[in-house]
């Protein structure tokens, strides 16, 4: 063994290298306050390891980025843990940077001759923040997409070159494949290389000047090994333990590990867009300035300049005090701005709703990606775009909720802007909905025809005058008619009921004539076409045809109230299908 080490040492100078790195003088002995630099080096190493492995499974393009991250997170062995560690270690680094900075400033370790230590440290801090910013976009999820758009749009405020700078970084006029390939090259290539270069420089300068001991020293001098190494190791392990605890315990939308919101969709604005928490103070700062140039460039620039000048200011008698004051003021300012940003969001019910909607989309995207049909070649964004459960409420809110309610709201859960002027459609054509419809006490309320032209029409008249006076036998017939009519819709939620009640249904079909339905309605080649046809009433095709043109002779004809023919230019076929499927409760649900 010794021979081998001698042989190696002869050729490489290994002993001297190990000795030089371990037997560094520490005046006054090891201290816990010196651990921050080591924890930063350690966390950077963690990011290199986890980052390279993530790289091996990541595919940067607009059709594969979210998909490959989804695959890492939900399918690959240990992928959630790997990605979680990378995600939370990135955040830990920001905290550690702040602690390292404060220790350096408070202990006066930035002063001559260590100016270059300090400046290389500042460059490293900027590079780490740039890594966070570029990494945020890579999953190509709604959160990263919209938050990063803000950041790259701010670039246009840089004087003279802003526009060109933005185009170069984004890889074109708009976000796309090249935005990802560029961000990935910056995130995984350019920035880590620069960080390594500056860490080497930073460490070289650190070793050149030695550690700046906190004065006064109270204990005898020690070497770096083993006392300080032990303290550093404990600190690193503690950081890792905190990171892993966060990965496992900090659930976002109930999901373990790093969050992944829905696939980026330029056509679907993301109201919950916020930068990572450590950039929230900048986000909040922007709100106070009319000019983004001042808020995003001038003020942070001036603050950075003041920090960079600390070693020079520190030469004066009161300089150190000033620098410590600036540091404390900045820390307090950042804390206050962050707290205010959080408070404003917490007090804003719109933001809560946006967060809830985002969580729902995120969850749904994963459910659909795991469905047997899988993710199509055009990417996971198509899953949500073609999903009735996701699009139905939005389309309903945008196109139907001006007149119709959905269980009292607009489909998405928002209260209606105005009182409904047409029937509430939640549960349309279900047994329950029809039972309420035929209730003399409910038919003329705003829930049904109360605010429509049919308020004084024949149907309301029949229900109020005749149905109200039904005897027990007739009520029994009506119940059968309701069941039979509801069966026409073939609602997925009533499939079992309809199968069970086959006899009652055929009974109800015959009872339609008895109760006079066919005097006005057509039902399977019988009856008169004076009111909407009841054949296939509430079925998928019936609803599509109705929404496309309610004034068609099959439906209200000339008696149509105010409902537009949506199929004639207002909505495309696909949108109408999505609304109908959502109304009928027809969407993919995973088997339990």
């Amino acid at each position: 063994m010794n021979d081998l080490i001698n042989w190696l040492d002869d050729r490489t100078g290994l002993r001297k290298l190990v000795h030089a790195s371990l037997y560094e003088h520490i005046p006054g002995g090891s201290r816990w306050r010196y651990v921050w630099g080591s924890t930063l080096a350690f966390t950077f190493m963690v990011q290199l390891i986890t980052g390279v492995v993530l790289w091996s499974a990541y595919s940067p393009s607009a059709q594969t980025a979210w998909e490959s991250v989804y695959y890492i997170q939900y399918e690959m062995t240990g992928g959630w843990l790997l990605r979680g560690i990378h995600h939370y270690t990135a955040q830990a680094m920001v905290v550690l940077l702040l602690l390292h900075f404060m220790q350096i400033v408070i202990d006066g370790a930035y002063k001559a001759p260590r100016e270059f230590n300090f400046w290389t440290g500042l460059i490293l801090a900027k590079l780490i923040l740039a890594l966070s910013l570029t990494g945020y976009l890579l999953p190509w999820d709604q959160k990263g997409y919209w938050a990063t758009k803000v950041a790259t749009n701010l670039m246009t405020n840089v004087p003279f070159i802003g526009e060109y700078l933005q185009r170069t970084v984004v890889g074109g006029a708009d976000y796309g494949h090249h935005t990802l390939t560029r961000f990935f090259a910056i995130h995984a290539g350019v920035l880590p290389a620069l960080v390594i270069f500056f860490i080497v420089l930073h460490l070289y300068l650190f070793r050149r000047h030695g550690i700046h001991a906190k004065q006064p020293t109270r204990r005898p001098d020690e070497y770096f090994w083993p006392d300080q190494v032990l303290k550093d190791a404990v600190a690193c392990l503690a950081v890792l333990a905190i990171v892993i605890t966060l990965v496992i315990l900090h659930r976002v939308n109930g999901e373990v590990g790093a969050p992944l919101s829905a696939p980026a969709d330029p056509s679907q604005p993301y109201d919950a867009a916020r930068p990572e928490w450590y950039f929230l103070f900048l986000f909040q700062l922007l709100k106070y300035f009319d000019s983004q140039f001042v808020g995003a460039i001038v003020i942070p620039g001036v603050i950075f300049l003041i920090i960079a000048l600390m070693p020079l200011v520190g030469r004066w008698k009161l300089g150190h005090g000033f620098n410590v004051g600036v540091t404390v003021a900045l820390a307090v300012g950042i804390a206050l701005l962050t707290a205010e940003a959080v408070r404003q969001d917490a007090a804003n019910p719109e933001h809560d709703r946006a967060i809830a909607a985002a969580a729902q989309d995120a969850h749904r995207a994963v459910v659909l990606a795991q469905a047997p049909a899988g993710i199509p070649s055009e990417g996971a964004v198509a899953l949500l775009r073609n999903d009735p459960l996701t699009q139905g409420p939005r389309l309903f809110a945008a196109n139907c909720a001006a007149c119709h309610g959905w269980d009292g709201h607009d489909g998405t859960g928002k209260p209606l802007a105005e009182a409904p002027t047409a029937p509430d459609l939640a549960g349309f054509a279900s047994r329950k909905w029809l039972t309420h419809f035929f209730d003399p006490a409910q038919i003329a309320t705003p829930k049904f025809f109360g605010n429509t032209a049919f308020k004084d029409g024949d149907m309301v008249g029949v229900i109020r005058d005749e149905v109200a006076g039904y005897d027990e036998d007739e009520r029994e017939l009506l119940r059968a008619v309701i069941v039979a009519l509801s069966a026409e819709a073939r609602l997925p939620s009533q499939r079992e009921l309809d199968e069970r009640d086959a006899t009652l249904i055929s009974h109800g079909r015959q009872a339609m004539d008895e109760l006079g339905c066919l005097d006005c309605h057509v039902f399977h080649d019988q009856g008169k076409a004076r009111a909407p046809k009841l054949t296939d009433y509430g079925s998928r095709q019936w609803l599509i045809d109705f929404i496309s043109n309610p004034a068609h002779a099959d439906f209200y004809g000339r008696n149509n109230d105010r409902m537009p023919a949506f199929g004639e230019g207002q909505l495309d076929e696909r949108s109408i299908r999505l609304i109908v499927d959502w109304m009928r409760g027809e969407w993919y649900e995973p088997a339990e």
């Binding site: 003088h25 520490i26 005046p27 350690f42 190493m45 963690v46 390891i49 986890t50 390279v52 492995v53 993530l54 091996s56 499974a57 594969t64 998909e67 490959s68 989804y70 695959y71 890492i72 399918e75 690959m76 062995t77 240990g78 992928g79 843990l81 790997l82 560690i85 002063k111 001559a112 001759p113 050149r208 000047h209 030695g210 700046h212 005898p220 001098d221 020690e222 070497y223 090994w225 083993p226 006392d227 190494v229 032990l230 550093d232 190791a233 404990v234 690193c236 392990l237 890792l240 892993i244 990606a369 049909a373 899988g374 993710i375 199509p376 070649s377």
Partner: protein, 196 residues
């Protein structure tokens, strides 16, 4: 006051504390090795994960048979003809319905009898082509096989065929007019025919 660049500190006390050295190594080692665990798991995912249930056989029937061609389209001249095999392909995260997952040579051996051969050479995985006489020749290492897929020991160029086994035949089933093939790939470079 300016600090000195190389202020010589007092010679440190070298305390030979075994416990401290041991703990420093163990704790430091733990911290450094920890991220390698999930990293290794993800890198070894292809070995660790349970096999993809669907793989490349989606679109096939329960026993894995896929319709490849119609019987009437295959001439009865005993010459092999190449057909693509279409099935749903699950490639990591993406699912592509009905795309080529491989190709086979079909050869009519009777009224309603067909033999199928995977186009992949069992030597090192190149795709073989057919010559005018119906022989298969591998373009990579010149292995030669007769129209039934049997190895020809000495090739037309006078060299020894390097492939270690015959071309891989596949199970065929005729249903009505359609030819169904149980499509499989087999491990290359070995003498035995073992499905991948």
């Amino acid at each position: 006051m300016r600090e000195q660049v190389a202020a010589p500190p007092s010679e440190p006390q070298v305390r030979r504390s075994f416990m401290k050295r041991f703990l420093a190594l163990v704790i430091g080692g733990l911290a450094v090795l920890a991220p390698l665990v999930p990293g290794g798991a993800v890198l070894l995912d292809p070995i660790l994960r349970r096999r993809q249930a669907k793989g490349a056989t989606g679109g096939a029937d329960l026993e894995g048979f896929i319709a490849v061609a119609s019987l009437s389209a295959l001439p009865a001249d005993g010459m092999p003809r190449r057909f693509p095999v279409l099935a749903d392909r699950v490639d990591a995260w993406s699912t592509q319905p009905n795309v080529p997952i491989g190709a086979v040579y079909l050869r009519r051996t009777g009224e309603a009898e067909v033999s199928a051969i995977n186009v992949v050479c069992p030597h090192l995985g190149c795709a073989v082509r057919t010559e005018a006489d119906g022989h298969f020749v591998c373009p990579c290492h010149d292995s030669e096989f007769d129209p039934t897929g049997k190895i020809i020991a000495v090739t037309r160029h006078g060299k020894k065929t390097v492939a270690q086994r015959d071309l891989d035949t596949l199970e065929v089933r005729i249903v009505g007019d359609s030819i169904l093939v149980r499509f499989q790939n087999f491990r290359a470079a070995i003498r035995e025919k073992i499905p991948v």
